[in-house]
């Protein structure tokens, strides 16, 4: 099968990750595995007994750029096309690295998809809040205490600080129970399953 990262080379390495008790397997080519830092060694640690926390954390989302989105790499463009709104050609973009106007994204749609795939690992925006006409300013509020605690819990689990994680989990359970007892709130708790995985 092809490498799940580059979709170009034959996958010759199987990489297993275990994140929050969930095991996933990725099939990679050796080049991509190396680019992900899986074969790092001898980086001058001297006698410093530091464990590779950063490597572990990065590994928790090893494919920041892999969004399982359709890829369009290699799209060609007709160089004579000009954007009707600003008059810019694709060659102008190549010179400055900047598009001329928002309309350019429609004019050069296919090549932009290809470019975004290379830069961001995909070209499809993922944000449910993009409804400019119906924005309710009141809806965007600071993180709730539960959301903040959930974030802290995730961090502690990643750092394998389970005792502290358990305390945070209990606090979240307490707060979630209090919220559920209030009929105005109907927040689903994801914490039970996270706790069980440990």
């Amino acid at each position: 099968m092809l490498c799940e990262k580059c979709h170009i080379n034959e996958a010759n390495i199987s990489v297993k990750t275990n994140i929050h008790g969930v095991t996933k397997t990725y099939q990679l080519c050796s080049e991509c595995a190396q680019k992900q830092g899986l074969f790092q060694s001898g980086f001058g640690f001297e006698s410093f007994p530091m464990s590779n926390y950063l490597g572990q954390a990065l590994f928790n989302f090893p494919f920041v750029t892999l969004n399982n989105q359709p890829k369009t790499i290699g799209t060609q463009i007709d160089k004579s096309i000009r954007c009707p709104a600003c008059g810019q050609k694709y060659t102008d973009f190549r010179k400055t690295g900047l598009f001329g106007c928002p309309e350019c994204y429609s004019t050069f749609h296919d090549v932009i998809c290809s470019m975004l795939d290379q830069i961001h690992g995909g070209h499809i925006h993922n944000d449910t809040q993009i409804v400019p006409q119906n924005i309710d300013v009141e809806k965007v509020k600071p993180l709730t205490e539960i959301e903040q605690l959930k974030s802290e819990l995730k961090e502690k689990v990643q750092l394998e600080q389970y005792e502290e994680a358990a305390l945070i989990r209990d606090k979240i359970k307490e707060l979630t129970a209090a919220e559920k007892s209030n009929p105005a709130n109907n927040i689903e708790s994801e914490i039970e399953s996270e706790g069980d995985e440990k």
Partner: protein, 345 residues
């Protein structure tokens, strides 16, 4: 009180956290193609919109009507990028009183909405910048697309338009020769590492900026969460490195830090780079809990005050290099003397 005079989390390692959203307005070309007439029209539209939302909080400065010193001082406080100091196009900055929330009009994009906080404060900065970005959408027609998200002049910002960055003090990792490896790991994983003044700047005073590179395909909240995870690990690594350094070379480290403090307290002439590096050592002394070292807020304030532009702004006149070095040394020396006197009484 300015934001840098306030306390924040993890200040022993993180100096500040910034979140900015890039936004553009429908019907206008991107800034590098706008003529002066359209520049004025767009600026007016944005200023009116912001005043409609919140007439009291923001005041506006036009960069073209400012002198070089004032512009340098803004760049030194990370409110504009150093590249904008010499820009011919008229750019405007809407800024609140404590300078933690601003809208830069006509940088690379029509709007750059920025929140900056002391220490490691990604949630606070995110919420503040996002609230303003969302509010602005209710009064301005923002360019966005169902497929690509928010449209920006450069394709590296498209999607969420979110850039979250933290300025870190990393003497421990530098001492242990770990920085190169850490930076390589970060870059491979979709994060950008830059020097103190952002794009194109070199690493100085053992400080560097880490920011997200990917802006599309994930929600802004997801990007912030990823950033938090990575940074919390980086902070922990830096603390471990410092601990190891201290255990291994306590006397040498104390000597280095106290010497820097002595230079700052006694010099009659001091260049910006030397002062910056000495302040970096003093910051480390504070983090290691050494006696008689000023607070992080004071060190950061002093770091801003001694910049090439800021020192001239404070003196109220144009100074040559030697005059600046004298004024800088005097300011720092007075500061340290006051600090010691306040401690004694």
């Amino acid at each position: 009180m300015s934001w840098y005079e306030e306390h924040g989390a993890d200040q022993d390692v993180v100096i500040s956290t910034r979140v900015r959203f890039a936004r553009n307005i429908k019907g206008y070309k991107f800034p590098h193609l706008l003529n002066s007439e359209k520049t004025a029209e767009l600026t007016n539209e944005v200023v009116t919109a912001v005043q409609r939302l919140d007439p009291k909080s923001f005041h506006m400065v036009e960069l073209n009507s400012m002198n070089l010193i004032d512009k340098q001082s803004l760049a030194e406080r990370h409110l504009i990028s150093p590249q904008l100091i010499n820009s011919k196009q008229n750019k405007s900055l809407l800024i609140n009183q404590n300078e933690d929330l601003s809208v830069l009009i006509l940088d690379e994009d029509h709007l750059r909405i920025q929140a900056i906080k002391a220490g490691f404060s990604p949630d606070q900065a995110f919420v503040q910048a996002k609230n303003l970005a969302v509010a602005l959408e209710s009064v301005l027609e923002i360019a966005c697309d169902q497929e690509f998200g928010y449209l920006t002049a450069c394709p590296t910002n498209v999607g969420t338009g979110l850039r979250i960055s933290a300025l870190l003090h990393v003497p421990g990792l530098e001492y242990l020769n770990q920085l190169k490896y850490m930076i390589d790991s970060l870059r491979r994983s979709g994060f950008t590492v830059r020097g103190y003044y952002g794009e194109g700047s070199s690493e100085q005073g053992q400080m560097l900026q880490i920011s997200n590179q990917i802006t599309l395909g994930k929600t802004d909240q997801e990007l912030v969460n990823q950033f938090k995870t990575i940074l919390s690990v980086f902070i922990k690594q830096e603390r471990e490195a410092r601990k190891h350094w201290y255990e291994r070379e306590q006397i040498k480290l104390q000597d280095k830090i106290y010497r820097s403090k002595a230079i700052l307290s006694n010099a009659y002439l001091i260049g910006h780079e030397e002062a910056f590096n000495c302040l970096s050592d003093v910051r480390l002394g504070r983090a290691l809990g050494f006696e008689g070292f000023p607070d992080y807020t004071d060190i950061l304030t002093l770091t801003y005050l001694i910049g090439v532009g800021s020192i001239q702004k404070k003196e109220g006149q144009i100074l040559n290099s030697e005059q600046r070095d004298i004024a800088r040394a005097k300011l720092i020396k007075k500061y340290f003397a006051d600090f010691i006197n306040n401690k004694d009484h």
